[in-house]
């Protein structure tokens, strides 16, 4: 290792430390504390010092081990090479293992209420990620308002279930249908838009839906939200401790002791199945003409036109299908929470879902799972350190972009592989 490189690394990491000091100094170092009913600024320089030291040393290590090592351009760093190799060779086994693990997960000894809730939340995000992956990853349409369809699904499920008393299994497809219709509704005005312009309009669309839900008090109860959304039943058997006269419940039917976990486990399997359906659908449709047209549209719109692919229908189906899965996830959310309000559907949700898709490597199904576990898991782990949660979230994004600039799973296998002839 030559001296020049060593010097520049040190210089670079000291500079990083300086930036860290400027950022964390005011954010972390100055804390207001109430002393005798007056606010007093209490400096915490030790914490700041530790953070700055960690940043400096971390940067130095990154410098030495990945960035400038040998300085051969274009060659991926050793760590990311290992990851890529591992995922390329073991991808199928990992996916199968993950599915099996998620099926037996509720019966693991450590799977208590807390873990089940996290698992359900992760599954919901995975499903949303897979749904949005159709729009962003396959069709290449950057949609920043995906949460709108999630909201439409949740609200249409809730309204149907409350006002008409229809069961979950009738309301679910209806919610998907409604969300799909909204997808087409959004699709029409943005047919001519691409890239940044499309992103801005979809962003606005997401906000419009939220504000509509907030202000249409007669229908949505505005900021009060909708309460008393019926819980799903196990093919007509409700999960209740004290059922109404003459109604059989899940635990009496199967002769089990009542436990609130039964409902949680049922919800878990419900979202697992919904998510797997989304995944299966995406994998299959990539091999059908529609899915192929989506990918072609992402690559080159003019070439698509000259081949007789109808870009209007192709875009609209991508929006509609993506929105439909968002709607399914939304109705699951509604039935799980039993209460929804516009506050659950803010822009940050859209941003998280887009982050999951982009960081996973656009178009990669496994990547969505990995980045969900990474991002949502991190948010959960940092739950106790409230104000640092978003820092951790941002840090996670930066780390992924440093080590995997094109997303966790950037290399996508070709859709079709042929057996060798002869």
């Amino acid at each position: 290792m030559n001296k020049n490189f060593f010097q520049s690394s040190i210089k670079d990491s000291l500079f990083t430390g300086l930036i860290a000091l400027a950022l964390f100094g005011p954010i972390v170092g100055l804390r207001t504390v109430a002393v005798n009913e007056a606010l007093v600024v209490q400096p915490k320089w030790l914490v700041v010092g530790l953070i700055v030291l960690a940043c400096t040393i971390g940067r130095f290590l990154i410098n030495i081990y990945t960035f400038k090592k040998e300085q051969r351009r274009g060659e991926p760093s050793s760590i990311s090479k290992i990851i890529t190799n591992f995922l390329d060779t073991k991808g199928a086994q990992i996916a199968l293992g993950a599915v099996i693990f998620s099926v037996i997960f509720p019966f693991m000894p450590f799977a208590d209420r807390y873990w089940m809730d996290i698992a359900i939340m992760m599954m919901t995000y995975i499903m949303l990620g897979w749904g949005l992956n159709i729009v962003i990853g396959l069709a290449g349409l950057l949609d920043l308002g995906y949460v709108a369809f999630y909201a439409v699904g949740a609200y249409s499920y809730a309204l149907f279930a409350i006002h008409f008393g229809w069961s979950f299994w009738i309301c679910l497809p209806l919610a998907g249908l409604f969300a799909g219709l909204f997808g087409i509704l959004l699709g029409f005005p943005v047919l001519r838009l691409r890239g940044d312009y499309l992103a801005i309009v979809t962003l606005a669309f997401g906000e419009m839906i939220r504000i509509l839900l907030l202000n249409w008090y007669d229908l949505t109860k505005g900021p009060d939200g909708l309460t008393g959304i019926p819980r799903p039943s196990f093919f007509g058997l409700p999960f209740k401790r004290y059922p109404d006269e003459g109604v059989e419940t899940f635990h009496t039917f199967f002769g089990l002791e009542y436990s609130p976990m039964q409902r949680i486990i049922f919800l878990y399997y419900l979202i697992l199945i919904l998510a797997l359906i989304t995944n299966f659908f995406t994998i299959k449709i990539r091999k059908l003409p529609v899915g192929r047209a989506w990918e072609a549209l992402r690559e080159d719109e003019i070439a698509c036109k000259s081949l007789g692919v109808n870009p209007r229908n192709t875009k609209l189906t991508a929006f509609a299908v993506g929105a439909m899965f968002g709607g399914f996830a939304g109705s699951f959310f509604a039935t799980r929470q039993a209460f929804i309000s516009p506050e659950s559907f803010t822009f940050i949700e859209s941003a998280i879902i887009v982050a999951i898709v982009v960081l996973g490597g656009m178009g990669s199904q496994t990547g969505v799972v990995l980045s969900t576990i990474f991002l949502i898991g991190l948010i959960e782990v940092f739950r106790d350190f409230e104000s640092y949660r978003m820092i951790a979230f941002g840090g996670a994004m930066v780390l992924i972009m440093v080590f995997r600039p094109k997303g966790i799973l950037a290399t996508r296998k070709p859709t079709i592989t042929m057996r060798k002839e002869k």
């Binding site: 072609a296 007789g308 070709p414």
Partner: protein, 238 residues
């Protein structure tokens, strides 16, 4: 078969075509030559419906097509090989071909038609699982032509098939174009900068200058025309 009359096309405020008249008969190879910016590609894009004609009519098989959308025009039997090939570089060669077949009976004739394409360009068969972007320039051009042929066109529009391709492969591609015309009976309308090659291949030719048709005639006549020679062929004759 194709009858273009008084077509004018604009890019914003700039007029690219100023009343172009062209006729292509069934079974012919017709070449359109002209310098950079003459409007050659614009004319092809106008025929295929990607750009719309502001004035004039385009008639294909006794049907006005100037107001149709691109995919409707492909369904009528006009396939375009766009300038710069525009293959889908992140999709496999097979996916590219399947996309070309999407307007043809919803891709159900794929096996049959792809065999014909492999006969034309055997190299594509060996490259089926490769991504389009990993092919060489010449192979990409073959893929682009093959992709257009998957739609079973009556008429093929070719935009600069020799652009950025090794001279040896250019010859091969021009032979393939001839085969497509003679053996499969597909009418060819060819736009080229390589005027010599194009006029040697073509039955008839047109010269486009500043959005107007300046000259027309048989391929041979144009090749021997002194104006054409001085303007477009000097480089080619060396």
């Amino acid at each position: 078969m194709l009858n273009i009359s008084k077509v004018e096309t604009f890019y914003g405020n700039i007029q690219a075509l100023r009343g172009v008249d062209i006729k292509v008969n069934n079974g012919e190879i017709v070449a359109l030559i002209g310098s950079n910016g003459a409007g050659k590609s614009t004319l092809l894009m106008t025929i295929s419906g990607v750009n719309k004609a502001a004035k004039g009519t385009i008639n294909f098989d006794n049907k006005n097509i100037e107001n149709l959308t691109p995919h409707e025009i492909v369904n009528l039997g006009i396939s375009q090989v766009p300038e710069g090939r525009r293959i889908f570089s992140r999709l496999t060669v097979e996916d590219n071909l399947r996309l070309g077949a999407s307007s043809n009976n919803k891709g159900k004739n794929f096996d049959e038609d792809s065999k014909e394409v492999y006969d034309l360009f055997p190299v594509l068969r060996d490259r089926l699982t490769q991504r389009g972007g990993t092919l060489s320039g010449g192979e990409q051009q073959m893929l682009a032509i093959g992709r257009a042929m998957m739609a079973r066109p009556k008429m093929l529009l070719l935009d600069e098939p020799s652009l950025g391709i090794a001279p040896k492969l250019v010859n091969q591609i021009f032979i393939s174009i001839k085969n497509i015309n003679k053996e499969k009976g597909v009418t060819v309308f060819l736009v080229e900068q390589n005027a010599k090659k194009a006029l040697e291949l073509a039955d008839r030719g047109y010269v486009l200058v500043n959005g107007n048709i300046n000259l027309e005639g048989s391929g041979k006549d144009l090749l021997n025309n002194p104006d054409v020679q001085s303007a477009y062929l000097e480089g080619g004759k060396k």
